[in-house]
């Protein structure tokens, strides 16, 4: 009895001390979230409803949601958000790469140390000479790039903590400060990026002008061929998996849409419209070949229709991204002789409509590589049991095999967690960048959904519409997270 009273008293004491926090969360988190749901279904407009205006609030059902789905701006800004999110796989890869570098046992022999020192000396001397002749910006970029390349090639020699801190710097420097820094880096005339890029582009322009245009156009066809090869490989892989009963029929067919998407875009895009028919014919040929194979050889094992959907989707998405990159290069090579005739100019980055989004994406990559993701990977790498590597060594595994068959599967839960969080962060992000660097411009090119919510809520006063956009964003985040959970989690556990 006495202990029960004491327990109750302890509970009450705990609740008493927790009360400020609980009340804070209820007041400033739970209530606003619930209230914003209601808000999204009303016509709340600051111009009509606030402490000075008492027009009655009306329930408008799904009107705000219908409006946002039919409004061009929402779709456009969603497109901007998704575009910026295309950097997520690269940023995750970068974080993993950084973690691998920073956990690498690289205390090599004397020859490596000597090579590293000699290279460093040459690098520093070259950069000092560049600075002396008034090309300090170029020198700095070359120095930084050289150091990064040196670390990547030979690993880190001592000072691991320093390097780890340096890599993590972007995460603990205030966002606005880094955005202003990047704004200066991106400066088209005086920024160090263009200072380093312009000489390279000058050499490229001279080289392109020196060779006959058909030689450059051949690279266009090479890129289109690469696209085709990727699509063919992907279809072949899907059929092989389907035949072996690793994936179901649905999982083999539905994700193919993503493999076809770059070809469709290539047909619609003015730059490659005239060439993409080759892709279409090639794809039709490969598709027909696969159909013949399926019809004549059938499958060896069966499985449920949706089995392996996540794996096949991931592969198809990865192939799609690579195809898009190849398509972009095809367009570049197609236009290169014409562009190089008058010399190639370095981009105007955030001032230019076409470059503004990639500029923000590159900056995002820089920030994401040295972020919490890198720390998570570092922690996960240290948790991999050394016995697994010893077993792999005994089996004669190469370094590549050690990575694919030991490290990568062991990191799967971490990768899954990072992917989920990065997807959520990507959909919600972009506000600070847009507000600080571009004000959403030029021509709305860098306006993301989070910035759109701010504009609608506080620059135009349409709070209910802003709430509807916020909830649409939540639904997207929730849907993608569920999808990740359903397919990715299964993949991790497998």
């Amino acid at each position: 009895m006495a202990s029960s009273i004491k327990q109750r008293r302890n509970t009450l004491t705990a609740l008493f001390f927790l009360a400020p926090n609980i009340i804070g969360v209820l007041t400033f988190v739970v209530f606003p979230v619930l209230f914003s749901i209601l808000l999204a279904f009303t016509n709340w407009d600051l111009r009509k409803h606030n402490m000075f205006k008492d027009e009655s609030l009306e329930f408008v059902g799904f009107e705000n949601f219908v409006r946002l789905l039919t409004e061009a701006d929402f779709m456009r800004y969603l497109g901007n958000t998704l575009f910026l999110m295309m950097g997520i796989p690269v940023s995750i890869g970068g974080a993993l790469f950084a973690a691998l570098l920073l956990s690498k046992d690289s205390h090599g022999g004397n020859r490596r140390v000597f090579a590293w020192l000699a290279t460093s000396a040459v690098l520093v001397a070259s950069c000092a000479m560049l600075a002396a002749v008034g090309m300090a910006g170029t020198g700095m970029v070359i120095l930084l790039t050289g150091v990064a390349a040196g670390i990547m090639i030979t690993g880190v020699f001592g000072g691991m903590t320093v390097y780890r801190t340096l890599f993590y710097t972007p995460h603990f420097v205030a966002g606005v400060a880094t955005f202003l820094l990047w704004k200066k880096l991106y400066n088209p005339q005086t920024g160090p990026i263009n200072a380093a890029l312009q000489p390279v582009l000058d050499v490229l322009a001279t080289s392109v002008n020196a060779v006959p245009p058909p030689t450059v156009y051949a690279l266009t066809w090479g890129c289109l061929g690469l696209m085709l090869a990727l699509a063919a490989w992907c279809m072949n892989w899907l059929r092989a998996q389907w035949r072996d009963g690793e994936i179901g029929t649905q999982a083999a067919i539905v994700p193919c849409v993503f493999v076809l998407l770059p070809t469709v875009i290539g047909l619609l895009w003015g730059q490659t419209q005239g060439l993409a028919w080759v892709l279409l014919i090639g794809l039709a040929a490969f598709g027909g070949w696969q159909m013949i194979q399926i019809t004549t050889r059938g499958r060896d094992f069966t499985c449920p229709r949706g089995e392996g959907f996540g794996s096949s989707l991931m592969i198809c998405l990865a192939v799609m991204v690579l195809q898009f990159i190849a398509l972009g290069f095809a367009a570049v090579f197609l236009n290169l002789p014409g562009m190089a005739a008058d010399g190639l100019d370095a981009p105007e980055w955030i001032s230019n409509y076409d470059w503004a989004k990639p500029s923000l994406m590159i900056m995002g990559l820089w920030a994401a590589i040295g972020s919490n993701n890198m720390l998570l990977y570092l922690a996960a790498l240290t948790n991999i049991p050394p016995e697994l590597y010893e077993a792999a060594d005994i089996d004669g595994a190469s370094r590549r095999q050690r990575f694919w068959h030991v490290t990568w599967p062991q990191l799967a839960p971490t990768t899954f967690f990072i992917s989920v969080m990065a997807t959520i962060g990507g959909l919600q992000g972009g506000f600070e960048m847009a507000r600080t660097m571009t004000q959403g411009g030029p021509a709305g090119a860098t306006t993301t959904l989070s910035y759109f919510i701010y504009i609608e809520g506080f620059e135009t006063g349409r709070l209910s519409f802003a709430a509807a956009v916020a909830w649409a964003l939540f639904i997207l985040v929730f849907g993608l997270t569920l999808f990740n959970w359903k397919f990715g989690n299964k993949y991790v556990n497998d």
Partner: protein
């Protein structure tokens, strides 16, 4: 552990109480009012003069001090800066409020201003003002830039007080300022603001820059083609062949002024429709594009960014003008605050180039009174102060744009400041243009200016980035702004009747214009069209 938590909890409560007790409102002898404005150092003197103006005009709180203890307590409750103002108006008060108190002069009655004004430079952002305003905690007086349609937005939300009656009673009604500002300071025919200063933006000319390249100074008035040919001569002379362009003819030209000079406005006469799907708008966009990317008379955004980096953080236009990178600088009279730092520049002014109809946009940094403020009566006094001779003279002396009241621009002190003879050619031009060719902004009651401006800017940006043709940009801007008008009407059905009436009136105007007949002036709401119709002889 729980005792530790308890102690922390109690300490937090004590800290909260301490914080509250140290709040200016609690500590000060008189109520503290806040003016949300920019961090311009000139605001300090403007506030000091306000305190003195309050005392001079009898807006005081009289405190009788009889004992040394009371004197000490009062001294603790009157901030030093306020005490200086009190002593300036009542020198004997230094016996109580001064650095060397003299209790032998007690008892004494001290006349304190009825409020202490402080600046709040951290909340100038519109978003912050709106959020704080609808939460009941905005500043008592807020600065707004009239050209951005903030007065209309704040009025629509209900944040600001209708000043019409108070302004008439207290002497800061619209008759006390430039007539062209009427649409900028009012909404729905009621006054909501009074200017802190008035701005017409002209092109500053540094004659020395032109002389440096062997060119004469440009004329004060010029057409588009004259501007272009003059500009080409300048940039060709100033920029060596084959090198990065560092010298530009002008930093900026305004689209709105340019289309107005062709007889076009963002909106039609009754402001029921956006009118930018017009060849004249396309013509102006194409000119701007040509001047920026082909002739290189104006800097691109990338050029501007480069200048920012090369010259340090912010506010570089004046330095670039002084160095000759900008032969001309589009700005108001307030730019003199910066230009005076460079010594005796050989200054002149030019109007923005026109397509036939000379005009200039007038704007203002105006003060509004927050409707939810606890000290609205004191805030209104501040607006009365803005209309006073004390304040206007201060603006004249500081060159902080034009003073709110045009009566003060005819004085010798304004026209020929003795310390700055190099400026004697410019002051008169500013005041004359503000009173002759200046026109206020066109704000449709059916769409917020911030929304319309966003769509128009996006279309212009798309054109400047080669994503749309000039015609398409005009069509896109028009379609989007008109769609917003439709949306506003749907969201506010109460506006529908007025809109229908305005549309019907617009049809009558169009019919009369088609027949070549004059139109009754009071049919026209758009301030630009009112002036334009009169200038063309189309108004009845």
């Amino acid at each position: 552990m729980k005792y530790f938590f308890l102690i922390v909890f109690l300490l937090l409560i004590l800290a909260s109480v301490g914080l509250r007790l140290s709040a200016p409102d609690v500590q000060s002898e008189v109520p503290v009012t806040y003016w949300v404005t920019d961090p311009n150092p000139a605001r300090i003197e403007q506030i000091n003069r306000f305190h003195r103006w309050l005392i001079k005009n009898g807006h005081v709180k009289e405190v009788t001090v009889t004992t040394p203890t009371e004197a000490r307590q009062l001294r603790a409750r009157v901030p030093e800066t306020l005490a200086d103002d009190v002593i300036a108006m009542q020198p004997e008060a230094s016996a109580v409020l001064g650095p060397d108190p003299d209790t032998s002069k007690l008892p004494m009655t001290i006349r304190l201003p009825i409020c202490e004004m402080r600046t709040d430079a951290a909340n100038r952002d519109t978003g912050k003002q709106v959020i704080q305003g609808v939460s009941g905690v905005a500043g008592d007086v807020m600065d707004v830039w009239t050209g951005a349609g903030q007065v209309q937005y704040f009025e629509a939300i209900g944040l600001i007080e209708n000043l019409t009656e108070h302004a008439t009673a207290m002497g800061f009604d619209l008759s006390q300022t430039f007539p062209a500002l009427e649409t900028e300071l009012s909404a729905n025919g009621e006054q909501y603001a009074f200017p802190c200063n008035v701005a017409t933006q002209m092109l500053w000319v540094n004659r020395a820059t032109f002389a440096r390249f062997g060119l004469p100074a440009p004329p004060q008035q010029w057409t588009f083609s004259e501007f272009e040919s003059f500009g080409k001569r300048f940039v060709d002379a100033a920029n060596p062949e084959g090198q990065r362009r560092l010298f530009f003819f002008c930093n900026h030209v305004d689209t709105n002024d340019m289309i107005r000079s062709l007889g076009l406005s963002f909106y039609n006469e009754t402001m029921t429709r956006c009118d930018l799907d017009d060849p004249r708008y396309a013509e102006v966009l194409e000119l701007k594009y040509k001047w920026t990317y082909v002739d290189r008379l104006l800097p691109t955004k990338a050029d501007q960014n480069s200048f920012d980096t090369a010259s340090g953080y912010g506010g570089v236009s004046a330095q670039l003008f002084n160095r000759g990178n900008y032969a001309m600088l589009k700005s108001g009279r307030w730019m003199l605050i910066q230009l005076r730092k460079f010594g005796e520049l050989d200054l002149a002014l030019a109007e923005q180039p026109h397509g036939g109809f000379r005009n200039m946009r007038i704007g203002s940094r105006a003060a509004v009174v927050y409707k939810g403020g606890a000290h609205r009566d004191k805030a209104r006094l501040f607006l009365a102060y803005l209309a006073s001779a004390d304040y206007n003279h201060l603006i004249v002396d500081d060159a902080d744009a034009l003073p709110p009241n045009p009566a003060y621009v005819d004085s010798e002190a304004y026209l020929k400041p003795p310390k700055y003879p190099n400026e004697w050619d410019v002051h008169n031009v500013f005041s004359r243009t503000a009173q002759t060719i200046a026109i206020g902004g066109s704000f449709s009651p059916y769409v917020l200016d911030s929304i319309a401006r966003r769509h128009i800017t996006q279309a212009e940006d798309a054109f400047m980035n080669d994503k749309l043709t000039a015609e398409e940009a005009g069509e896109q801007a028009t379609a989007r702004v008109n769609a917003e008008i439709e949306r506003t009407l749907k969201e506010n059905p109460a506006l529908r009747d007025q809109y229908e009436q305005d549309v019907a009136r617009q049809k009558k105007i169009d019919a009369l214009r088609a027949q070549g007949k004059p139109v009754p002036l009071d049919w026209i709401d758009n301030p630009f069209h009112r002036v334009y119709y009169q200038a063309q002889g189309w108004a009845e």
